[in-house]
């Protein structure tokens, strides 16, 4: 029944959406004549009600799908494909948008919600545009609902109810994947709002005010897209296991392209609101943003773009293509008919070397970037048509084409605050010349000292330093100026500055974030490092200053997958850093395997370890080691970027409590994200110490023996010490006790001491075990697991033989035999 009601709701939504468009259109025409104005208002009121109803209908449909997942309604085919009884609740929720049908339903709901909010709660400035905007928004919603209802039903039933679902695609079981699609959709759907209002502005010839009218919506959409892209990058980095975060895959580009045009629109809007023109440009940007959104959805669902990311070739391609064509052609035609009004409105821009000029450059560059990435994504088709041979644009192509453009953009970020309007412009540049030159010099020098010496990267660092210095100077200057007036403490001044000029300083924060991200991109792209290495258990290998010891291979069974991982201790020189546990998971439901990388983040780079393969006896394993230089600047920059966007979005509030709450919530979110990235372990475990290498000094410890005495390892210098970690609850440890006793009796008095360290055990059980096995060598309890941590114990039993000079001579993991002990001791005693 759940499924049937859901389908009915979607069908009803289609009817309501079409009615909304009609009602709004009718209302507009009736309002034109004074006699029928009141009737017109009634129709518009009805349209608004219909918009609200549409939101409710689609919301309930989405809720029903969610409920179906939470209650394991496997008779619904979509639920059976993406869920199972064993996956945790939070993953069941994100499974709702794991596939095409569900994600389309989410899209429809968001579309209706945004339409209702944008038209129902429109600002004063926006209100005249609302009727026509309603028409366009409801038509868009109708299109997506029609596609969902006729071509991509989420609620189709299976003829037989399976007992268990297929389970969520393991690649999607990552927190990033829970938020990545919704964030992206907020961006995609959100861009429909500026588009609708822009078209309304064109039709009613009120072309000056529209950017200000929907400023908040444009910002929300832009930020949503940005968040979606960042989450996607982090997900790729954590989960896909190839060491990178962006592959210039056409599906990735599909999200990037509208983000470019939306950024251009944001900047153009600033100019338009300051009465400095850019009207035509903004119109074009909004049209192309929306068209690229449709194009993006189309590209991922048709066979037109070869990509391993794409959805299977589906029947939706043609319909989206038609929609794109209609949108672009219609909008451009409308633009053409209003060209006179647009030309009147445009102001003239004066100097290229001014703030306006910088905005012009910004828009121009984002346009060329959009074009470049579009050409790159379509290169096979284009080259086949023009050159007769299909070429494909790989990452190298994209880096080469977009790299210089990004570099110039960063330069513009730095120049813009320095160039005011007119003559004052150069004065400011002169005032700050030392600051910006300093930035442009310090950063490359620091980088070069840290080992980054490639010339092009140094140029990139210089530009970034310059831009960063210029942007930071804006903050400092703002605080100083304010303090001159109000004499506040610097921090107070900063707080008020941020509070009162949210758009300006939010924008500067975003710029700072972008500059940091640029540093990360330069590091990872220009200093790639990757190596494959095969190691035996217990062996060490050195990579770029890190020493990696593959200790052992382990296996376990969790929920619906089998996991195998390797314990790899990581040292820098002699200092223990962490133990990485790269793993391979084999899922029983879908027969899929995924590699889960382990990484150790650092300011300078990330050590990224992947378990590739192993022999069946676990004695040898192959690893892929990737060093990602400066990658954490990318993530840090991303957080600052989001913080800036959030600040820009925050409405003007005089209420201190609300502002305070917002600040705290924002900080908590940022800290939470930071903790998720750098605080949480990504496959790394800190055992307090790695297993000491053969040849290294054995860590000193003090062991309280059962007979009351305390012995320290240091005091045993000059003798051979056999240190055995064991416990009574461990069967293999118990098995080896007779062997140990035998060896003790044979070698005691020949300069050999045995020490038994009981791990997580109790005195009574230990004592009785000693009695049972006639163990006479000294044994003590390792209270607080202190000694185990020093020796990097990951399991028991483990035996260490320490030579008379205090260095580790032999390590044995697992139960040891008397014969093996004898052999080792004999060779040491020679």
């Amino acid at each position: 029944m759940v499924g049937e009601i859901g389908t009915l709701l979607i069908g009803l939504s289609l009817a309501v959406a079409l009615y909304t468009a009609y009602a709004a259109w009718r209302g507009i025409h009736l309002s034109a004549a004074p006699v029928t104005a009141a009737l017109g208002k009634t129709w518009l009121h009805s349209a608004q009600n219909a918009t609200n109803a549409l939101t409710a209908l689609l919301g309930v449909a989405l809720l029903m799908l969610l409920l179906a997942f939470l209650t394991d309604h496997f008779e619904i085919s979509y639920v059976a494909q993406h869920s199972s009884t064993v996956i945790p609740v939070y993953l069941k929720i994100s499974a709702v948008w794991a596939g095409q049908e569900g994600s389309l339903l989410l899209w429809c709901f968001l579309q209706a919600l945004f339409a209702a909010l944008a038209t129902g709660r429109a600002s004063e400035r926006a209100r005249p545009l609302v009727p026509w905007a309603t028409v366009f928004l409801s038509l868009t919603t109708a299109f997506f609902v029609a596609v969902t209802f006729f071509l991509s039903q989420p609620f189709t039933l299976l003829p037989q109810v399976p007992l268990e679902g297929r389970g969520l695609n393991p690649l999607l079981r990552h927190p990033g994947m829970i938020f990545h699609p919704p964030a992206l959709y907020v961006g995609y759907v959100g861009l429909a709002v500026p588009f609708a209002f822009a078209m309304a502005a064109l039709i009613t010839r009120q072309i000056k005010e529209w950017t200000a009218a929907i400023r908040t919506w444009t910002l929300i959409a832009w930020l949503g897209l940005g968040l979606g892209l960042l989450l996607g990058m982090r997900w790729a980095y954590d989960v896909l296991g190839w060491g990178g975060y962006w592959g210039w895959d056409p599906v990735e580009n599909a999200g990037l392209l509208p983000w470019f045009t939306a950024t251009a629109l944001l900047h153009g809007a600033v100019m338009q609101e300051e009465k400095r023109g850019f009207h035509v440009w903004n119109m074009l940007m909004v049209v192309f943003s929306f068209a690229l959104v449709l194009f993006g959805t189309f590209a991922t669902r048709s066979g037109m773009i070869q990509s391993v990311h794409a959805y299977a070739v589906s029947n939706l391609g043609g319909y989206f293509l038609t929609a794109i064509a209609v949108t672009v052609v219609g909008s451009l035609a409308l633009l053409y008919t209003r060209r006179a009004a647009l030309k009147d409105a445009s102001a003239t821009v004066e100097n290229l070397l001014s703030r306006d000029g910088m905005f012009f450059l910004t828009l121009a560059l984002f346009c060329t970037l959009t074009l470049s990435v579009l050409v790159g994504s379509l290169l096979p088709t284009l080259t086949e048509v023009f050159a007769g041979q299909r070429f494909e644009a790989g990452p190298a192509w994209f880096d080469r084409v977009t790299g210089p453009q990004f570099a110039v953009l960063i330069l513009v970020i730095g120049l813009c605050p320095l160039l005011g309007r007119g003559v004052a412009a150069l004065k400011r540049l002169r005032q700050l010349r030392w600051v910006v030159i300093g930035g442009a010099v310090v950063v490359p020098v620091v980088a070069a000292l840290a080992g980054f010496t490639d010339v092009f990267s140094l140029i990139g660092f210089a530009i970034s330093g310059f831009a960063g210095a210029a942007t930071l100077a804006e903050f400092v200057d703002g605080v100083i100026t304010r303090r001159k007036r109000t004499n506040e403490a610097p921090l107070n001044a900063l707080w008020h500055l941020l509070r009162l000029q949210r758009r300006k300083y939010g924008g500067y924060l975003v710029h700072l974030g972008v500059i940091l991200m640029a540093l990360g991109i330069i590091g990872t792209r220009m200093y790639p490092f990757e190596v494959q290495t095969t190691v035996n258990a217990g062996q060490a290998t050195t990579v770029q200053g890190y020493t990696l010891i593959f200790e052992e291979l382990k296996s376990d069974f969790v929920a619906d997958y089998n996991t195998t991982w390797a314990n790899v201790s990581v040292y820098r020189g002699a200092t223990y850093l962490t133990t990485l546990q790269p793993r391979l998971n084999r899922y029983t439901g879908t027969e899929q395997t995924i590699t889960v990388p382990a990484l150790h983040p650092d300011l300078r780079e990330d050590l990224y370890l992947i378990l590739s393969g192993w022999t069946s006896d676990g004695a040898t394993a192959t690893f892929k080691v990737v060093i990602n230089a400066l990658v954490n600047f990318l993530w840090l920059g991303g957080l600052i970027f989001l913080a800036g966007g959030g600040l820009a979005l925050w409405p003007r509030m005089e209420n201190r409590t609300w502002n305070g709450v917002a600040l705290i919530v924002g900080l908590v979110l940022l800290l939470g994200a930071g903790w998720a990235m750098w605080g949480m372990s990504h496959g790394s475990v800190n055992y307090g110490g790695g297993r000491p290498l053969v040849g290294q000094d054995a860590p000193d410890f003090r062991l309280s023996l059962l007979d009351g005495e305390t012995v320290s390892l240091k005091s045993l210098r000059g003798q051979i010490a056999v240190v055995n970690f064991w416990a009574t609850w461990c069967p293999s440890c118990v098995d080896e006790m007779p062997d140990l006793q035998e060896a003790w009796e044979a070698y005691r008095g020949r300069g050999v001491t045995f020490l038994g360290v009981a791990y997580q055990d109790s005195e009574t059980t230990v004592r009785s075990a000693l009695v049972q096995y006639d163990t006479t060598y000294p044994v003590g309890l390792d209270t607080g697991d202190r000694i185990a941590k020093q020796y990097g114990i990951t399991g028991i039993p483990e035996t260490f033989i320490v030579a008379p000079d205090g260095r580790v001579a032999y390590v044995h993991v697992g139960p040891i035999t008397a014969a093996a002990l004898s052999a080792q001791l004999d060779s040491l005693l020679k």
Binding site: E4, I5, L8, P34, T42, W43, H45, S46, N52, V60
Partner: protein, 127 residues
């Protein structure tokens, strides 16, 4: 399609439709009366409204100008704007529907068309 689903679906549809047509039902009463009053106010809002003709209950039709107005001195230079009496006295026809109107009407009470006015007062932009 189970019966239960059909019932629930119908119930939801009915509720939604009721909500959507609500404005039409509430509007028809109050809004119509308001519209009538508005039209009347416009129609009567010529410069210097005729006193005595302010009877709002009277049907809005071509009214015979009140004879009391004749008491006001009409000896005015020609440059002065036509007095209310003059306006009330002049009879025009609506260019759109042909109805008889007097010059002090700005809008035709029959078809709502804007009546051409010497003083050039425009209807004002509904910006």
């Amino acid at each position: 399609m189970s019966l239960g689903s059909i019932f629930v679906g119908l119930a939801i549809a009915v509720m939604v439709i009721a909500y959507i047509v609500r404005p039409f039902r509430t509007a028809s009463g109050a809004a119509a009366a308001r519209t009538d009053k508005l039209i009347e106010a416009w129609v009567r809002a010529a410069p210097g409204a005729t006193p005595g003709a302010k009877d709002t209950d009277a049907p809005v039709s071509v009214a015979v100008p009140a004879p009391t107005v004749a008491a006001t001195p009409i000896i005015v230079p020609q440059v002065a704007p036509p007095s209310a009496a003059a306006l009330s006295a002049a009879v025009n026809f609506c260019p759109q529907c042909g109805r008889r109107v007097t010059a002090d009407y700005r809008f035709c009470p029959g078809c709502g068309a804007l009546l051409p006015h010497e003083e050039g007062a425009s209807s004002g932009d509904v910006a």
